[in-house]
């Protein structure tokens, strides 16, 4: 059992800057929770408060039901992996991993067993006698993870562990962290600014901005039902298209009217609007680039001009301008287009785009809250 509970946790720095506001979160045993948000949103500060590396100004942090506010990091039953690995440069990989065990006066034969075990799991056995400077970034990160693994801690904290790696290695290590999680079967709290990492790793994602929690939910929840405009734009790449438009109610039917088009709101979304008895009003309409399609007939079509075409391999990212100059992004799978269609996608090309009613998200222009939440 290792649950973590944060109640009204607040961080106020000496210069009165509030980095984290009333942070409430219940992390269950063996859950993988990801804190994600842009720089300065307070995610690392929160993690460091859980670790005991940062004082908690107000509120309580409980690990396994015990309030740990005044405990030293070493007494909290946590292990931590740092962004810059924080390996001890003067020690060999073996000594780095064994450091915490030796401090606990664990017998040397047990140290040997645990270090070699961890090294085997992480595939770094052959580097055990090397110094950290003789390792590549990925190997160093493995050592850092190994150092955290041998502690048999209740909670595993990771502070942007993949940020210093190149893109290819990052993908590989991400998969390895998923495997590691299955092997360790413990509670993980992971901090990142990369929404892809958050989506792929987390059981639940905590999206933060300016020290506030914007939404807590599973990857599917935050992707399909963002509670506010910030989450909608932050999760998903390329980011969601936001269109200033009107929601029009005609009897029991709803329409949106972007750029002079008129597109019906269908499926679940339409039903929910009706349930909430939403009246006609100005809204911010959100549509993800992957939910926009080329073409569209009659009233549903929005006339655009292609500005930039990014060929991503499996798909095209088309940056298009509408008649009033609003920039939209459309994701088109490469296989959806034949050769002629692909070669026609050049700057200046006129084309129509549209989207389906079920793909829409509606936000209040003032509060920026999702109308359906």
């Amino acid at each position: 059992m290792a649950s973590v509970k944060l109640t009204k946790v607040k961080k106020i720095y000496d210069n009165k800057v509030v980095a984290v506001h009333d942070f409430d979160l219940d992390i269950h045993d063996k859950e993988f929770v990801v804190f994600v948000g842009p720089s300065g949103c307070g995610k690392s500060t929160t993690l460091r408060m859980i670790a005991g590396l940062e004082d908690i100004s107000e509120g309580t942090v409980e690990i396994d039901g015990e309030v740990v506010n005044d405990l030293q990091p070493k007494d909290r039953g946590i292990a931590m992996v740092f962004q810059n690995y924080a390996l001890y440069p003067h020690m060999s990989v073996y000594d780095n991993i064994a450091f915490s065990l030796r401090l606990q006066k664990v017998p040397e034969d047990v140290v040997y067993e645990r270090v070699t075990n961890a090294a085997e799991i992480l595939g770094i056995t052959e580097y055990l006698m090397r110094k950290p400077r003789a390792l590549s970034g990925g190997q160093r990160q493995r050592v850092a993870i190994g150092r955290a693994m041998v502690r048999d801690s209740k909670v595993f904290l990771m502070d942007e562990p993949l940020s210093n790696l190149d893109a290819k290695l990052r993908n590989q290590m991400r998969a390895e962290i998923i495997l590691l999680r299955q092997k360790l079967d413990t509670t993980f709290i992971y901090v990142t600014h990369d929404q892809t990492e958050a989506m792929t790793l987390g059981d639940r994602i905590v999206i933060m901005k300016d020290g506030y929690i914007m939404q807590v939910g599973t990857p599917t929840e935050v992707f399909e039902m963002p509670e506010n405009l910030f989450v909608a734009e932050f999760i998903g790449a390329p980011k969601m298209n936001i269109i200033k438009t009107s929601l029009v109610r005609e009897g029991d039917k709803y329409f949106v009217t972007p750029f002079g088009a008129k597109i019906p709101v269908t499926g679940e979304k339409g039903k929910k609007l009706l349930e909430k008895d939403v009246k006609s009003k100005d809204i911010l309409l959100g549509v993800r680039p992957e939910h926009m399609v080329l073409g569209g007939e009659g009233q549903a079509a929005i006339g655009c001009t292609l500005v930039v075409n990014e060929m991503m391999g499996s798909e095209f990212h088309l940056h298009v301008d509408t008649a009033d100059g609003t920039r939209l992004i459309v994701r088109v799978p490469t296989l959806d287009l034949d050769t002629a269609g692909r070669s026609a996608l050049t700057a200046g090309q006129k084309l129509n785009v549209t989207f389906e009613g079920k793909a829409m998200h509606f936000f209040d222009p003032e509060t920026e809250k999702n109308l359906l939440v």
Binding site: D14, G52, K74, F82, Y88, R151
Partner: protein
């Protein structure tokens, strides 16, 4: 054309390097002359007074034997004890101070650092009279000058934190944090992580702490107040240079000079690699 240009550059480099080396050799020779002179004089046995030539006419160990039979042993031991004690205590205090100022954030940290900076600008000599009073009241003058001088060397050592703090500042804080999460106390972080990574600066601190009292004259003379048992080498040997002694003791004085230089020279030869790293590392990185 390109090749010609390349050749010109190489010649220019060679010429400037040669000039630099010649200049450095001249400077080294000039610097070495007094040392060579004193070594030669220490082996001169035909007379004990100052002479008009450099190379001895008769060579021998007599001056060193005289040294052994004089109070020099006592002075040497005094100096060694003071310098060694100062080296150990000053290093411990200064490194703890530097680590504290580098890693901890506490109220008045900034004002304290500025205060010490300003205090350090006053010449130490200004405090001499009051220090003598304090030491005298404590009974640490004259024959008891050794503990008194250790106290004087160690008392303000925390103020010399600049270079080592600058060095500690370059060691990432996340190493401290990782070690603390791993279960280390603050003290363990210092001696298991920070100090092994700061070898150059530790050695630099030890050397400078040792050198201060080793070559001290003014304070040592003042505190010993004419009592030979409390002299260090500098004060004791200077007493041989008085008008009535110099003719008898001059060559012995030179032998003493050589013996005084030996431990320091050995220390520097062994540790010069770290010393240079310490001097430049602390300054540049800090």
């Amino acid at each position: 054309m390109n090749n010609k240009h390349h050749m010109g550059l190489r010649t220019l480099n060679r010429v400037s390097n040669t000039a630099i080396y010649i200049l450095l050799i001249i400077i080294s020779v000039v610097w070495l002359i007094p040392f060579i002179f004193i070594v030669l004089q220490s082996f001169r046995v035909e007379s004990t007074y100052q002479v008009g030539y450099v190379i001895p006419h008769q060579w021998g160990w007599q001056n060193y034997i005289n040294l052994w039979n004089s109070d020099f042993k006592r002075w040497y031991l005094n100096t060694f004890i003071i310098a060694l004690a100062a080296a150990v205590l000053v290093t411990v205090i200064q490194l703890c101070m530097s680590y504290t100022l580098s890693r901890f954030r506490f109220k008045l940290r900034g004002p304290l650092m500025r205060f010490m900076l300003i205090l350090g600008m006053f010449p130490g000599m200004l405090t001499m009279i009051i220090l003598y009073r304090v030491l005298s009241d404590l009974g640490l003058t004259q024959a008891n000058a050794v503990p008194g001088l250790i106290l004087v060397s160690v008392a303000s050592s925390g103020m010399g934190y600049y270079v080592s703090k600058g060095f500690f500042d370059t060691i990432p804080k996340s190493l401290d944090e990782a070690a603390r999460v791993d279960g280390a106390t603050r003290a363990q972080v210092l001696y298991k992580i920070i100090l092994p990574l700061s070898k150059p600066i530790v050695i630099y601190t030890i050397l400078t702490a040792f050198m201060g009292p080793w070559g001290d004259y003014v304070f040592a003379r003042y505190v010993a107040m004419g009592t030979s048992a409390g002299y260090n080498v500098a004060v004791g040997m200077y007493s041989w240079l008085t008008n009535d002694q110099i003719a008898r003791m001059y060559t012995t004085f030179c032998a003493g000079g050589v013996i005084v230089a030996v431990p320091v020279t050995i220390l520097f030869l062994c540790l010069q690699k770290y010393y240079v790293e310490g001097v430049t590392g602390g300054a540049v990185k800090g």
